[in-house]
Each structure stands twice: as structure tokens, then as C-alpha cells.
């Protein structure tokens, strides 16, 4: 504990000192014309319904640019750096929710003893090879999904929620293993995220007027034309632990060490009759060591899809064993031993040339049409759970590969993407239309019809967007409101779903789904007061997020944003949970003659219903009030 406090002080002093140093030259911020140094301090304080403080993040960001002009054969040479450090006080100020005192003892549903019966963690039906509570005590845990739903006859288990230095249970090495300071000081980690961006730009001018424009270093590379959704904008992974899906991607993309080079041809006549107003070819080589999305670790305020909790609980089950609610016979809380079910490890791709990621883009303007064609080979930034790993049979003690056993390793498969985008101004309706689409191969989905409990599918995703300014005279006589609507569609082309004895089994994700967003933004006081409302509706999940906010530019330097994030609609959804997959036949058969490894379709909220609820549905109980203040210098 002493060490932690010292560490906290150190970082606070560091941040305060840095802020002081940074603020000293405010008056000389407009220094030499070829040098720019600026930055901001920001406090983001969020309160969550039923939880209290969910964010008290203090960020100091410094940005510097040095333009060197012509250097040797290169022109427009410049060096850019962005440093960002933050301290989120929520882990200290609300530590019984998100810090070292979070969680507690849990009880798990045991329908075998009655409709509302429960047993404590460790009090379930003991398999012949069970677990010792000494290795996995009933403390510092929550019941999987308890913030969103009751167990309701489904499966659940205890999930440790304290930072990994406080409780290492369920911490997955190299993937979801944050200790207290990793959470408090998000950027100060072994990937040096406090260096948010550091790159050099340089141009090489060809004699024909074309330009080879290169950016080398830690950076964000942005593809596509849509907001919020990532159809083509998939080069950098994203930090969803910051504010789920709701922050500007600019703030939550995780910069990577990348070479990006553009061959800029400008207006180009390819041949007689085919001429582009602008034509550009881009090569992107992400040579950084692979990084997945930060999906949030269980115990952090933002855990997208609550997946981090599922993973942590599953890893703890593998490492330590544990009690699973309503499991045996579909209703008896059952104590599994270590190495029987759960997540064994995450296979993080190491650095090798073969593991780097390459993209190509052709982008231009043809007449009134802006377009791009994109191709990218990359590693999925979302985890795939692959079954089929050696595990112990809880009844016999035998170790082997059991069909449809819920024992997994995490992989990040290679994905190939082909796509494109268009924008067009439709004069007749005074509206800008945007289209972005991608076809991917290699993505993997949970699939309870498969013995390894996953399958690969090609996927088509697209976004159609429209932007229009509309006057609403009774709200503002002189300035129009911006209306920006988008529909995001996802089609899993190799989707599988079958009706089994107790319910549907297969891929939990919807075969086809759409999410619509609408932004309405107004401007008052010469743009210094800007109210807006963003709504997002997941059609299949039946879940909606509504985020009203008001931004007030008090001065050129000081900005205050007050808002809310409210969800309505359906939350948790149920799907086959593979309790009835019969991996250890005949001990686990749910009906006479059930083939080994074949799901009978018994389902509940956990763990696969989350893929139907989506990020909005899974956050139904995370309504927040949000206040952000930023001082720029």
C-alpha cells in the first residue's frame, strides 16, 4: 500500500511539474514561425447512476511541431510529437467500485435447490476433480454480468475485479493484466503510450510535379469517411476503456509505429477521356508489434461488451477453478477444478516481419465524386476464443481435447480487408452522401455448432451517411443545425444457426444487423455555445444510446462540456451458453443419446448473449452525467 501511495505521489508531482513547465511559456507559445508548442490540461469527471464517480481523469497533453523546410532532397520536412499523460483518480476516489477494495464475496445461483437458491463461491456441486477455495477465495469478486442482469437460470461465475497487483486472479498475461498504476496512469505503460505520436514528415518532389509524401513514426492512420463506426478505419487499434465507443476516435486510437507514404499525383489524365481531379496512392506499413484493442479490464469503469469481465472470470476458472451457476443438469451450481474450463492464455503475436500489417489505398476525386479503394492485411484487434485445447475431464481427471468444451485460448487471427468509400454532394437535396464498405476474410466468431466453438466467416460491413444543414427558425433564426445521420450494416456471410432441443445454437451474433446514428448540432453565441444530441440505435439489439451535451467555449483557451449518456431499450439477451454441449460424454449429457460435443441449445444471458446485445445493450446500466473542462495553451 505504501508503495502505491508513493507511486501515486510521484506521478502526481510529475504531472503537476510538467504542467507547470508547460504553462510557463504560454506567452511565447507563438514562438518562432517554424516551431509550434502547445497543449492542454483537461479534467473529465463522470458520474454513473448507481455507482458514483466513474471517471476523474486529468490529462496533460503537449504537442510540438518543428518545421525544417528543405533538407537535402526532401522538402516540407517536419518533426511532430504529441505527449500525453493522464491520471484517473477514480481508482483512488471510488476504490470500492474500481480499485483495490472493489468487489466482495459472491453467491451463485443454484436452481437445483429452488428458484432463488444460491450457493457461495466454492459451495457448488463438487466434481471429482474440483478446486480449492484456498487458491481462489471468495473475495474481491462480482458475479459475471451482475451490473446488467440477474443470472436468471443461466450460467455465471465469480469474476475478480481488483487491479492485478491487488489480485492477480484472471489476469491474462500480456493482454488484460493491468495493475493499479496501469489504470491510474493509462499512458505510462511498457508500450510508452505517453509518446502518443512522434513522427517525421518529408516530401520528395518528382520532376513531373508528383510528390512522394511520407510520414514515418508513431502515428494514427485514418481511412474512411464515417464517424463512430470503423469500417475502413481499422489500422490503429482503439482504446475502448477510455469511454466505451463514445469518445472521438482521434482521442482513442492507439498510435502505432507506421510508415505511411503517399504518391500524390494531383489532377491526372490517365488516358484520353479518363481524368481525375485528384489521384493518390498510399502504402501503409504498420511495423509495430501487434496491439489489440483495449477492451477494458474487469474492474475498470468501461469494459466494452463486458467482455473483459467474461475473459477474466474465464481465466480465473482455468487457473484456479471455480463455481459456475446452474451448470450441472442445467441447474446445479458446479465447482470446476483448474485446467478444466476457462481461458488458458492469450497468444499475442510477437514481432516478426510476417506479423506486420500492410495496407494499400487508392484515393481521389473524379468529377463530383470522392472515392477510395482500400486493401489491408492485418491482425484482428478483437480476440477470438478458440476451443479445442487440452483440458482435464472434471469427472475422470483425464487430460485431452474434448469436443465443444468451453476451454479456450485467445487468438488474434489475420484478417484481409478489401473496401472502398465514396462521397457525393447531391445538389437536388442539398445533402452530402457518404458511403463506406468493406469485405473481410478471416474473422472468427463464437459458434456453438462447431467442436472448437468458433468458425470463420467472411463479413460485409458498410455505412451510409448523409449530412445536411437545416434551418429551424424557432430555435435559431440565423444559423442552421447540422443533421448527420448514418446507418451501419453488418452481414456475417457464413452465419450458422440451428434449432436444437432447448433452443438455438450457432453463432450468437446477428446474421444481419444495422445500427443507426443521428447527430443534431446547433450553434449559438457565434459558435461558442454548441448544444448537440447524438443518438445511436442498435436495431436488432433494440438498444438506444442518447447523448445530449452542451459545449461552451468560455474563451479561446477554456472549454467546458457538460453532457449525459443515457441508454434505453433492451439490455441483456440470451443465447446458447454451451452448458448443454456435452463435452465429457456421458457425464455431461443433457438427454439420453445426446452426441458428444453437440449443443442442446440451453441458454442464458452469459456468456454469448452479449454478442446480441452489442455495446449499447450491454451498457444499459451505465447511464452517466459527464463534465469535461479543457484549458488549452
Amino acid at each position: 500500500m505504501q508503495t502505491t501511495i508513493k507511486g501515486l505521489r510521484l506521478w502526481c508531482y510529475t504531472l503537476a511539474g510538467s504542467a507547470g513547465l508547460a504553462l510557463l511559456p504560454i506567452n511565447s507559445a507563438v514562438a518562432q514561425e517554424d516551431t509550434r508548442v502547445n497543449g492542454f490540461y483537461e479534467n473529465a469527471t463522470y458520474g454513473r447512476d448507481g455507482v458514483g464517480l466513474s471517471k476523474f481523469r486529468n490529462t496533460l497533453q503537449l504537442e510540438a511541431e518543428k518545421r525544417a523546410g528543405d533538407v537535402g532532397i526532401f522538402s516540407n520536412v517536419s518533426v511532430n510529437a504529441t505527449l500525453r499523460g493522464s491520471y484517473d483518480g477514480v481508482y483512488d476516489l471510488n476504490d470500492d467500485e474500481y480499485g483495490r477494495n472493489a468487489g466482495g464475496p459472491v453467491r451463485l445461483e443454484n436452481r437445483a435447490a429452488g428458484p432463488n437458491a444460491t450457493v457461495p463461491h466454492g459451495g457448488g456441486l463438487k466434481l471429482p476433480n474440483s478446486f480449492s477455495e484456498a487458491n481462489n477465495p471468495n473475495e474481491g469478486m462480482i458475479v459475471l454480468g451482475e451490473n446488467l442482469h440477474d443470472t436468471d437460470g443461466g450460467v455465471a461465475f465469480g469474476v475478480p475485479v481488483r487491479p492485478c497487483d491487488e489480485d492477480e486472479r484472471g489476469c491474462i498475461d500480456g493482454y488484460l493484466d493491468k495493475d493499479t498504476n496501469d489504470m491510474r496512469f493509462q499512458e505510462f505503460n511498457d508500450r510508452a503510450d505517453f509518446i502518443r505520436e512522434l513522427y517525421v514528415d518529408f516530401d520528395y518532389n518528382f520532376s513531373n510535379g508528383n510528390i512522394l509524401s511520407t510520414r514515418l513514426g508513431k502515428q494514427q492512420v485514418i481511412w474512411g469517411r464515417t464517424d463512430l463506426f470503423r469500417v475502413l478505419d481499422v489500422i490503429n487499434p482503439v482504446d475502448y476503456s477510455r469511454n466505451n465507443i463514445y469518445d472521438e476516435l482521434e482521442d482513442i486510437r492507439i498510435p502505432m509505429w507506421i510508415l505511411r507514404t503517399d504518391y500524390r499525383m494531383g489532377p491526372t489524365e490517365v488516358f484520353d477521356g479518363l481524368a481525375f481531379d485528384d489521384l493518390n496512392f498510399q502504402l501503409v506499413w504498420n511495423f509495430d508489434k501487434f496491439r489489440p484493442h483495449d477492451i477494458g479490464q474487469c474492474g475498470q469503469p468501461n469494459v466494452i461488451l463486458d467482455a473483459g469481465c467474461f475473459f477474466r472470470g474465464m481465466n480465473s476458472l482455468w487457473e484456479n477453478g471455480g463455481t459456475v451457476a446452474n451448470f450441472a443438469g442445467g441447474e446445479a451450481a458446479t465447482d470446476f477444478g483448474p485446467g478444466q474450463i476457462g481461458i488458458r492464455e492469450a497468444h499475442m503475436p510477437s514481432w516478426s516481419l510476417a506479423n506486420t500489417q500492410v495496407g494499400l489505398k487508392m484515393e481521389g476525386v473524379y468529377g463530383d465524386l470522392g472515392f477510395s479503394l482500400n486493401a489491408l492485411t492485418y491482425r484482428s484487434q478483437l480476440p477470438s476464443l478458440r476451443g479445442g485445447i487440452p483440458a482435464q475431464n472434471g469427472f475422470t481427471g483425464e487430460t485431452g481435447i474434448w469436443p465443444s468444451l468451453i476451454a479456450f485460448d485467445i487468438h488474434f487471427p489475420r484478417v484481409n480487408l478489401f473496401g472502398g468509400s465514396l462521397d457525393y454532394y447531391a445538389q437536388s437535396v442539398d445533402t452530402v452522401l457518404r458511403l463506406e464498405a468493406a469485405y473481410t476474410t478471416g474473422e472468427e466468431f463464437a459458434n456453438t455448432l462447431e467442436e472448437d466453438l468458433y468458425s470463420e466467416s467472411d463479413v460485409v460491413r458498410y455505412v451510409v451517411g448523409a449530412d445536411k444543414n437545416i434551418f429551424i427558425p424557432f430555435l435559431n433564426e440565423h444559423q442552421a443545425f447540422l443533421f448527420s445521420g448514418q446507418v451501419f450494416g453488418q452481414h456475417i456471410l457464413d452465419h450458422e444457426r440451428e434449432q436444437r432441443r432447448f433452443g438455438e445454437a450457432g453463432i450468437p451474433d446477428w446474421k444481419e444487423n444495422w445500427t443507426g446514428t443521428l447527430l443534431i448540432k446547433g450553434f449559438y453565441m457565434n459558435g461558442r455555445l454548441s448544444p448537440q444530441i447524438i443518438t445511436a440505435h442498435d436495431f436488432r439489439a433494440g438498444a438506444t444510446a442518447i447523448a445530449p451535451s452542451v459545449e461552451w467555449l468560455v474563451s479561446d483557451n477554456f472549454r467546458v462540456t457538460a453532457g449525459a449518456n443515457i441508454k434505453v431499450g433492451t439490455g441483456a439477451r440470451k443465447f446458447d451458453d454451451c452448458r448443454s454441449c456435452n463435452p465429457w460424454d456421458p457425464f455431461t449429457a443433457t438427454y439420453p443419446g445426446q452426441p458428444a460435443g453437440e449443443s442442446a441449445g440451453l441458454g442464458g444471458y452469459e456468456p454469448l448473449g452479449r454478442f446480441q446485445s452489442g455495446p449499447i445493450g450491454m451498457a444499459q446500466e451505465e447511464d452517466e452525467l459527464q463534465l469535461t473542462m479543457r484549458y488549452s495553451f
Binding site: Y425, V432, M525, N526
Partner: protein
């Protein structure tokens, strides 16, 4: 013999008449050109009681009502500002532009519908004096503005300071620092290549590129406007948002909206930044009026807003709310032109433009809201290029040097302070491509 005599007399008459006709035609051409480009060569305008060096304020403004537009007259009458009168000076445009006009004289005509023009290659398309009986006289003046020498073939305003001011409290609410760049693709008369930059697949006439340098919340916002040579075709516009790092195409509705919260819409840039075909144009008359033309280097300048190694300083502002440029005004020949938006949903009901006859800049515009009430007035101060930055000397460009857009309904204004530079190296063609926005964005 008699026949031979008659024949020679006839021949002589033919030759003489032809020569006379040619010389009369040449004389007529010169007259048109001279009157259009050198209106002060033979006679300086005057108004009773008006003299260089005097100040017009609320005490004496009534005497000069005829030479001040009604909106500005009210400002002076209210005691919000005054006019320092300077001597009328000739703002000679570049001879190459004048020659291009001369060479095309009589070859340019309007098409059937507003927005169509035939035969224009370069220069002023309609240098003839407007005819009040010509129902399309206003449209011709609008073409003269559109194809005016304006910033020349290319130029940059680097930097360009916009200040948002509360007129009542005089508080500067916001200061935005820009770079503006202009490039003509067609009608080029001086900078190579002339007369057109090729390839030009979309047949562009002009492009404008804007980059925001400060403050932080809008830094790196970039705007690119492509204006087609075909006036009936809408502009293509793109906005790069620094905080999103994305290029977004703009709808037309967004060019008639407040630009970055200022009192200007994109359509206001340079006086009028839209299509001829978006407006119904009416010529209202020719007058001598006081207009904001001056020698920048002879002004008392703003010592605080801008400083650079060249020692250049920008125009200072004073008056009510700090909304009025500290400049001198001179009596000049002006065409009054009314522009009514064709689109009924346009936020304005009309603009009254006061076009300077010699330069075809629009130094004064008065705009009315949809109800017909006075809404905004726009002043663009014009600096003589020979009394500005050394690099601007001899360019023949009437330098846009200061502006003030006053929203009289909101008691608010946006002021602009320029460092205008006629320098082709600052605005290369590759700057005006969409990809440049992405490459420049961080």
C-alpha cells in the same frame, strides 16, 4: 479618264472610310478600356465640402449622405465610427489584365440564362459602362467581379487574423488565425502557366484553400473550395476537421452558414463567393462614394496582433466595439448592384454590393435578412499594392487588407486583419488538391 478618276476617288473613299472606321473602332476600344481601367485619369471625383484630410463624423455626416452608403451613414450618425478622408488615387490593375481585356473586347457575351457566358478567356468580360436600360447590366457587373483581377493569378493571406467581437462590451471573444490561399486555374495573365493550369479535368476556374492555425480547438481545420468554370455547376467544397482528422465534403447549405462561428458565411468571402447563377442581379446605378481604399504603409497600425521578422503590422481597429478599421476612405466611382438569392431558403433576402468601378472589388456590402431587415454590413479595406509589402509592389492587385463584418441585429462583429502576399510560391497548385488536406492535417 473620268471613270478612272471616279474609280480612284471611290477607292480612296473606301480606303479612307475603312481606315477611319478602324481608327474610330480603335479609338472606341481605347475609350472603353480607359474609362473602365483608368476612371480617374482625366477627372478626379469631387463632392461639395469634401476634401482629403478631413474627418466625417456625426457632426458633419449629413452633408455627405449622398456619398456614403446608408448603413455606414447610420454608423457615423450614431457616433460609432468616423471616416478619415483620403485623396482619390488610381489603383491601376496589372497591364497584362488590361491587355487581355482589350484583346477580347466585344468577343464576350452572356448566354441565354443567368450564369452562362460565351467567349471569355481572360480579362474583364464587360468593360463597357453599364446601361441602365440593359436588364442584364447587373449580371454583367457580377461577371466583371467574378473574373476580376482580384488577387491576381494567385496569392496568399498569411497570416489572417479574425476577431469575434461583442460590439457592446468591445470584448474580443475569439481570435482565429488563418492562412488563406487563392489560385486561378483559368484567365491567368501573369504567372506561368497562362492562360490556364493544366491538366484541369474538372474545368475549374478558381480554388480557395484555408487553413486554421489557432486556437487549439479549431487548429488544422482546413477548407478547400473548387469553383467550376461552368457557373451553373455548384462548387465542390471540402472541410478537414482537425479534431477528427477527416476530410468531409460540404453541402451548399454549409456555405451559407456562419463559418467557424464568425459573422461571415463562406459565401461572403471577398464580397461574394458564390455562383452568378445563385443570384438575381440588378444594376441600381453609378455613383461616386466614399470607399475604403488606402495606403497601408501610411496608416497607424496594430502593434499587438501580429509581428514578424519583416516588421509587417496589420491594420488596427477602433470605434464601437472595435469593429471599424482605422483606415482612410476615398471618393471613388462605384456601381451599386443588388443581388437577390434565387434559393428561397437562403438566409438573406438580398445583398447590396457597392462595386469599385476601377478594380471591380466589392469593398462595401449591405445584407438584409429574410424578413428584409438590415442584418449585416461588410467592409473590405483595399490597400494599394505599391504601399504595402515590397513583394506586392507592381503587382497591380488591389490588396484586400482589412475587413469588418458587422451583425447589426446581434451587435456583434468579426474583424479581419490581413498580411496579403502576391507570391505564387505560397500557393502552388498541389495545395488545392483534396489530398493536400489529409497530408497537411496532423
Amino acid at each position: 479618264m473620268k471613270r478612272a478618276f471616279r474609280k480612284s476617288v471611290f477607292n480612296g473613299l473606301v480606303i479612307g472610310l475603312t481606315a477611319g472606321a478602324f481608327s474610330a473602332g480603335a479609338f472606341a476600344s481605347d475609350k472603353v478600356i480607359n474609362e473602365s481601367f483608368h476612371p480617374y485619369k482625366d477627372q478626379m471625383p469631387s463632392h461639395e465640402g469634401l476634401s482629403a484630410g478631413m474627418t466625417i463624423d456625426e457632426s458633419n455626416v449629413a452633408q455627405f449622405k449622398d456619398v456614403i452608403d446608408p448603413a455606414f451613414y447610420t454608423f457615423i450618425e450614431n457616433g460609432w465610427t468616423s471616416i478619415a478622408v483620403g485623396k482619390t488615387t488610381s489603383f491601376d490593375l496589372h497591364p497584362a489584365y488590361v491587355d487581355a481585356t482589350r484583346n477580347a473586347l466585344g468577343e464576350v457575351s452572356l448566354g441565354e440564362q443567368v450564369g452562362e457566358i460565351n467567349g471569355w478567356k481572360a480579362g474583364r468580360p464587360f468593360p463597357q459602362e453599364p446601361d441602365a436600360d440593359d436588364p442584364r447590366a447587373g449580371e454583367k457587373l457580377a461577371w466583371n467581379y467574378k473574373y476580376g483581377y482580384n488577387w491576381g493569378d494567385s496569392a496568399a493571406i498569411m497570416p489572417f487574423y479574425w476577431k469575434y467581437r461583442d460590439m457592446e462590451s468591445a470584448k474580443v471573444e475569439r481570435t482565429i488565425k488563418f492562412n488563406f490561399h487563392f489560385l486561378n486555374y483559368k484567365g491567368r495573365v501573369i504567372q506561368e502557366p497562362t492562360p490556364e493550369i493544366t491538366p484541369n479535368p474538372s474545368d475549374l476556374f478558381r480554388a480557395i484553400y484555408v487553413q486554421v492555425l489557432d486556437p487549439a480547438d479549431v487548429r488544422n481545420t482546413q477548407l478547400l473550395i473548387h469553383r467550376a468554370a461552368d457557373d451553373l455547376k455548384r462548387d465542390n467544397s471540402w472541410l478537414y476537421l482537425g479534431f477528427q482528422r477527416r476530410v468531409r465534403r460540404l453541402a451548399t447549405g454549409q456555405v451559407t452558414d456562419a463559418f467557424l462561428g464568425s459573422d461571415l458565411m463562406i459565401e461572403d468571402f471577398e464580397g461574394y463567393n458564390g455562383r452568378i447563377s445563385d443570384m438575381d442581379w440588378t444594376y441600381k446605378g453609378t455613383r461616386y462614394m466614399l470607399m475604403p481604399f488606402y495606403n497601408h504603409n501610411e496608416l497607424k497600425l496594430d502593434e499587438e496582433t501580429h509581428s514578424d521578422s519583416n516588421g509587417y503590422q496589420v491594420v488596427a481597429f477602433s470605434g464601437k466595439g472595435g469593429c471599424f478599421p482605422d483606415i482612410t476612405w476615398q471618393l471613388r466611382k462605384v456601381y451599386e448592384v443588388e443581388a437577390k438569392p434565387v434559393d428561397e431558403s437562403h438566409p438573406l433576402s438580398k445583398r447590396i454590393h457597392y462595386m469599385d468601378a476601377q478594380t471591380f472589388t466589392i469593398p462595401r456590402t449591405v445584407a438584409y435578412d429574410r424578413k428584409g431587415s438590415l442584418w449585416k454590413t461588410f467592409t473590405i479595406g483595399q490597400a494599394h499594392p505599391d504601399h504595402h509589402l515590397p513583394k506586392n509592389e507592381g503587382t497591380g492587385v488591389s490588396i484586400d487588407d482589412s475587413f469588418s463584418m458587422i451583425d447589426v441585429q446581434a451587435s456583434h462583429c468579426t474583424t479581419g486583419q490581413f498580411k496579403g502576399q502576391v507570391d505564387p510560391e505560397l500557393s502552388p497548385p498541389n495545395m488545392f488538391n483534396v489530398q493536400h488536406l489529409r497530408a497537411t492535417g496532423s
